[in-house]
């Protein structure tokens, strides 16, 4: 009954957000495992994605006027900012054609893209967020 009550006030927007946060959480773990030792990893990015994903998933249980989804998007944005600040110099090696900075550019690009896509989608979802009738 409780679950039914929880589900009843959710819209498709919410479920898309939960799915994204779950994907983000998995990606964050992979980020730590695969990229953790590389110079394109920042603890700020990892932490923000972690907290943002948890916040988004917690919305299923707590609602809180949809603030949690909003906070999740802002945290993903912060994560992207952290990541961009270290990925860009590394990616410049591709442009230069020379390994000046180093770092794993493929992983930096992949995780940056994942976190950005999730962030953009959450951002759009915030425009359409409402309680189910």
């Amino acid at each position: 009954m409780q679950l039914k009550k929880l589900l009843s006030c959710k819209t498709p927007v919410h479920f898309i957000a939960y799915a994204l946060c779950l994907i983000g959480l998995i990606a964050d773990i992979l980020f730590l495992v695969l990229d953790g030792a590389d110079q394109t990893f920042t603890i700020g990015c990892f932490a923000c994605v972690l907290v943002g994903s948890i916040a988004g998933l917690a919305h299923f249980f707590f609602g809180w006027k949809n603030v949690l989804l909003w906070a999740s998007s802002l945290l993903y944005t912060a994560a992207f900012g952290f990541h961009l600040s270290v990925a860009l110099p590394s990616l410049s090696d591709w442009w230069n054609g020379v390994n000046f900075i180093g770092g794993n550019q493929e992983l930096a690009l992949a995780f940056g893209a994942i976190f950005l896509i999730i962030d953009l989608t959450l951002m759009v979802l915030n425009f359409f967020d409402k309680r189910a009738a």
Partner: protein, 977 residues
């Protein structure tokens, strides 16, 4: 609805803010790099009143100041120079009489996909090819009046095959199936000559592959190339193609035993290396005889590229159970020709197990020189013939050796010849007992003739430094180490190449059974080797350096030990001449202990401080009225004035020097303008500031040009690099590259001179002198041991001190001590387990101590930024491509680190002393106004940060407000209900 709008908009604003903040952070850290791309500036200087003198002047304007008109003239001169250089460094490798091409050769086919995708230069930091100026192979032949098979070229252009140079490497040659019948039908019409070009590419971060995407050694003839040659030969057999000429577009020493294989029908081969922007224009002239090739190899061309002793321990090797990597220099001094020629002598003299099968890769029955070698060091043919005579050798009292040799052109066409002077020093019982290795032949010096007409002669006088004959003996002076000259017989000889010179020495010794590189019996020419007997063992002449400093072991023990046996006694057997069975094995899974790990990756700064003299105290920010320009001409030893000058600065201003972001910011307190630098040995990595502001000239690649053996050409190269500095507004050029070609696979070989340290010593000195005299600081790359790109960041290189001093360091010594180069870049690797950037033994004891060198040292890009204090105290002056490390250093000094402050004062002295001898001072006077500025893009980013920040705050505030009011309304409704 309104709430959602605010929520969504706040997310968008936050994303924009996060992005602009990230860009701002990146901009702060890499300000100089971004300025170099976007054209910004972090400071400027202008002169009020009368402009100061231009001490360093461009030759291309009347007043010596750069201008658009001067730019135009410089580019014309550089293009002409590149053509001349190319004409002199191409090596005629093989010729059965097909070259020079006769005048009836008009219509040619260019074979090989690389004819439309050549390697102008290998990948490394340096100039970008200016597409407006580049001369392609096809354009070069057309400009020379040939008709070129365009159908074939267009087909190559349309083919999707690509050369790969990354984690996967492939040569990018098309398969046999590419040549359709319709294509083949065009060969006959353009069959006067088949010009077949093969290319190889590696570079920074990427060694040539021992096994590439085709499963073949990258330096070997590939199946596609073999098929191509056989196909072309089949047309030659039918008379449809008259000549087959191979061009080798590779800076890496390829396997070339196939050139004489009848299956391929090659008539001639010209090695062209990497020709740079316009070098291809010289190729047709070389093939037609308008230019007579006069280049000679600066590497040994082994039959099997894997046969070099160094190659047995080169590449990706990790310590057991540890991610750290190493390279074992088990070859000792026996790099390149020193191995092959020394073993050859011992084979002839039947000693030291030279004929054993150890180290045989291409020999059929025991080690055979002619089978192991295809072309020796110094090899190169000509369209004419020369007769060289060794007139005299004089051992002077000032420890120089004067060699006089006469060269006569005995052929029918004009040409240039190179007098290669070699030496043999005695290999004695002392050496054998004390592990002092001796090469049977050693390059001493060289000189190239002018263009000699048929029948014309020229006598060359070459004065070489006897110091280059000395050997490092770690046991000398009761174990303190030093350079020695053994008692015994010394030979000075000349020859067409290293092998020829050695045969002459062997003839002088009365030996027999000598062969040439093809296995033909030769007698050698004893008249070309003059001997001298040294009666006594000499360990005193070079006990002190030319600067009067004591020279002794620096790398034999402690944290700077480079011999792996210091940590694990008896584990490694270095190749020794007294037993050729010690040919190196491949050392895998070596151990590393905690002590080694701490040295490699820890911070031993506190331990290091205990060994230093007590630091001095300085009172900073004390105005002495001295500006940067006031220090012009102040002697290095005038400590009082230098201290007064530098004590005017704050800690922050002193620390500013250590952040090198393609230069350093202006220091307004002393009116020092912003200074800029660019990369690399083949030209500037930036755009000109005059004329059409195009990319800097890409010169004929340094390693390619080395094959000219022409000192005058390298002097002019130094001049042109300095001229470029005027026109691209830099004061320091990262070049020349001075490490050795330890193995033919080393990715950076293209921008280093040679496999031989003495060649680098001599030629590097010439180039650096020219650069410095014309006002650009020569920053040598990379001191020392950057001999492989694989794991270059932090690879632990183990070697004997003799190998380090006589091979790896030799070129740097010549550039710094003889050539006056005032800067160097520290290599990424470790010597032993101590990273070069933290290696006080190298950076301070040897370079500043023994050599008394006064320049500044930069790290390689972003290296060792986790231990800045340790690096600076060890001898590093700048951290390459970092903009923020100065703050960290300043913080440490302000926290009370006096050792660091002392080191910083020395760093600043070296920095200012160096730049006072550069074009940075041009036009500066006491009235010059120097200002700090903010680049336009940084101002723009900060503005965006503010705007997006305001938007974010406003929209978040709005969202919170709406959420709060909604909550209140709901609370009211509930209450009402």
């Amino acid at each position: 609805m309104k709430k959602n709008l605010f929520k969504g908009f706040s997310c968008l604003a936050a994303l924009l803010l996060a992005s602009s903040c990230a860009l701002t952070v990146v901009g702060e850290r890499y300000e100089g790099s971004i300025n170099a791309v976007l054209g910004g500036s972090s400071g400027s200087s202008s002169t009020t009143g009368e402009a100061g003198e231009y001490l360093y002047k461009t030759d291309f304007t009347a007043d010596g100041k750069p201008s658009d008109e001067g730019m135009k003239k410089l580019i014309e001169a550089e293009d002409a120079y590149n053509d001349t250089a190319m004409g002199e460094n191409a090596v005629l490798v093989y010729n059965n009489g097909a070259l020079p091409l006769s005048s009836d050769v008009k219509k040619v086919s260019l074979f090989g996909r690389s004819t439309v995708d050549p390697v102008y230069r290998c990948t490394s930091a340096g100039p970008t090819i200016d597409e407006k100026r580049v001369i392609t192979p096809a354009a070069a032949f057309e400009q020379a009046g040939f008709s070129v098979n365009k159908t074939l070229l267009d087909a190559y252009k349309a083919d999707p095959t690509q050369r790969l140079n990354g984690s996967t490497q492939s040569i990018g040659e098309v398969p046999a199936s590419f040549y359709t019948d319709s294509l083949k039908a065009t060969f006959t019409e353009y069959g006067d000559a088949a010009i077949v070009m093969f290319s190889r590419l590696a570079g920074e971060g990427i060694d040539a592959a021992k096994k590439d995407a085709d499963g073949v050694c990258q330096l070997s003839l590939h199946p596609q190339e073999s098929d191509l040659l056989k196909m072309v030969k089949s047309y030659k057999d039918e008379g449809k193609i008259k000549n087959v000429i191979v061009l080798l577009n590779s800076a890496y020493a390829l396997e070339l035993d196939w050139l004489s294989d009848e299956a391929y029908g090659v008539d001639a081969c010209l090695w062209i290396g990497n020709p740079g922007l316009t070098g291809f224009s010289a190729i047709p002239d070389l093939l037609t005889g308008k230019i007579n090739p006069s280049g000679h190899f600066v590497d040994t061309y082994a039959t099997n590229a894997l046969s070099a002793p160094a190659t047995q321990n080169m590449g990706d090797t990790a310590f057991s159970g540890n991610f750290r990597t190493y390279a074992m220099y088990a070859e000792g001094i026996y790099v390149g020709y020193k191995y092959y020629e020394t073993r050859y002598e011992d084979l002839i003299l039947d000693r030291y197990a030279a004929s054993s099968s150890a180290g045989t890769f291409a020999s059929s029955n025991g080690w055979n020189y002619a089978e192991e070698i295809t072309y020796p060091f110094g090899y190169g043919l000509s369209y004419t013939s020369f007769e060289q005579t060794l007139d005299s050798v004089t051992w002077n009292s000032d420890n120089t050796i004067t060699v006089k040799a006469t060269v006569k052109n005995t052929g029918d066409v004009a040409g240039k010849s190179v007098v290669e002077v070699y030496a043999q020093t005695p290999y004695t019982e002392h050496d054998k007992q004390n592990n002092v290795e001796k090469s049977a032949i050693q390059l001493l010096d060289f000189e190239k003739t002018k263009l000699l007409a048929p029948g014309e002669s020229e006598t060359l006088t070459i004065t070489a430094d006897k110091y280059l004959l000395a050997s490092w003996d770690s046991t000398a002076h009761d174990g303190k180490g030093g350079y020695i000259l053994d008692d015994g017989t010394y030979y000075i000889s000349i020859g067409d190449n290293a092998h020829d010179a050695l045969n002459n020495v062997l003839a002088a010794k009365g030996a027999s059974g000598m062969i040439d590189e093809n296995g033909n019996p030769v007698e050698g020419d004893e008249s070309k080797a003059i001997s001298k007997v040294q009666a006594t063992f000499d360990d005193t002449t070079y006990q002190y350096s030319s600067a009067g400093k004591l020279v002794e072991n620096q790398f034999d023990e402690g944290i700077f030990a480079t011999d792996y046996n210091y940590y694990y006694p008896g584990k490694v057997t270095y190749l020794t001449r007294k037993d050729w069975n010690t040919f190196p094995k491949t050392y895998e899974n070596l151990e590393i202990n905690d002590e080694m790990i701490k040295i490699h990756s820890g911070n031993f700064y506190e331990d290091l401080k205990k060994e230093l003299d007590a630091p001095k105290d300085y009172t900073l920010k004390t105005d002495a009225g001295l500006l940067f320009i006031d220090m012009l001409g102040v002697e290095w030893d005038d400590d009082e004035k230098w201290t007064k000058f530098l004590s005017q600065l704050s800690v922050g201003e002193l620390a500013l020097i250590v952040s090198d972001s393609w230069g350093q910011k202006a220091v307004t307190t002393i009116s020092k303008p912003q200074n800029y630098q660019c990369d690399g040995p083949d030209g500037g990595s930036t755009k000109y500031k005059y004329g059409d502001k195009g990319n800097n000239t890409t010169y004929v690649n340094q390693g390619t040009m080395a094959c000219s053996w022409n000192k005058e050409l390298f002097q002019r190269r130094g001049d042109f690099l300095a001229e470029d500095a005027f026109y691209n507004n830099t004061s320091c050029t990262m070049g020349p590259g001075v490490d050795i070609h330890r193995s033919p696979f080393s990715g950076r070989n293209h921008e280093y001179y040679s496999e031989d340290g003495v060649f680098s010593y001599v030629m590097g000195a010439v180039q650096c002198k020219a650069m410095q005299e014309k006002g650009t600081v020569a920053m040598l790359k990379h001191i020392c041991g950057n001999d492989q790109e694989t794991n270059r960041k932090g690879v632990c290189e183990f070697m004997t001190e003799q190998a380090l001093r006589e091979s790896s360091l030799k070129g740097f010594e010549g550039c710094m001590v003889k050539g006056g180069a005032m800067s160097a870049m520290a290599a990424f690797n470790a010597l032993g387990v101590c990273n070069v950037a933290r290696n006080r033994a190298l950076l301070t004891n040897v370079v500043r101590g023994e050599w008394d060198w006064k320049g500044f040292i930069d790290t390689d890009a972003n290296d060792c930024t986790d231990t800045p204090a340790l690096c600076v105290v060890s001898g590093i002056d700048e951290f390459c491509l970092t903009s923020a490390i100065d703050k960290e250093v300043a913080k440490a000094v302000n926290a009370g680190d006096k050792y660091l402050l002392n080191a910083l004062m020395e760093t600043n002295k070296r920095f200012y002393y160096t730049y006072l001898q550069s074009n940075l001072i041009n036009g500066l006077t006491r009235t010059s106004v120097v200002s700090e500025g903010m680049p336009w893009w940084k101002s723009a980013l900060i503005a965006l940060d503010v705007i997006f920040g305001a938007m974010t705050l406003a929209s978040i505030g709005g969202t919170i407000f709406l959420l709060f009011t909604e909550k209140k309304e709901q609370g009211g409704e509930d209450h009402a209900a």
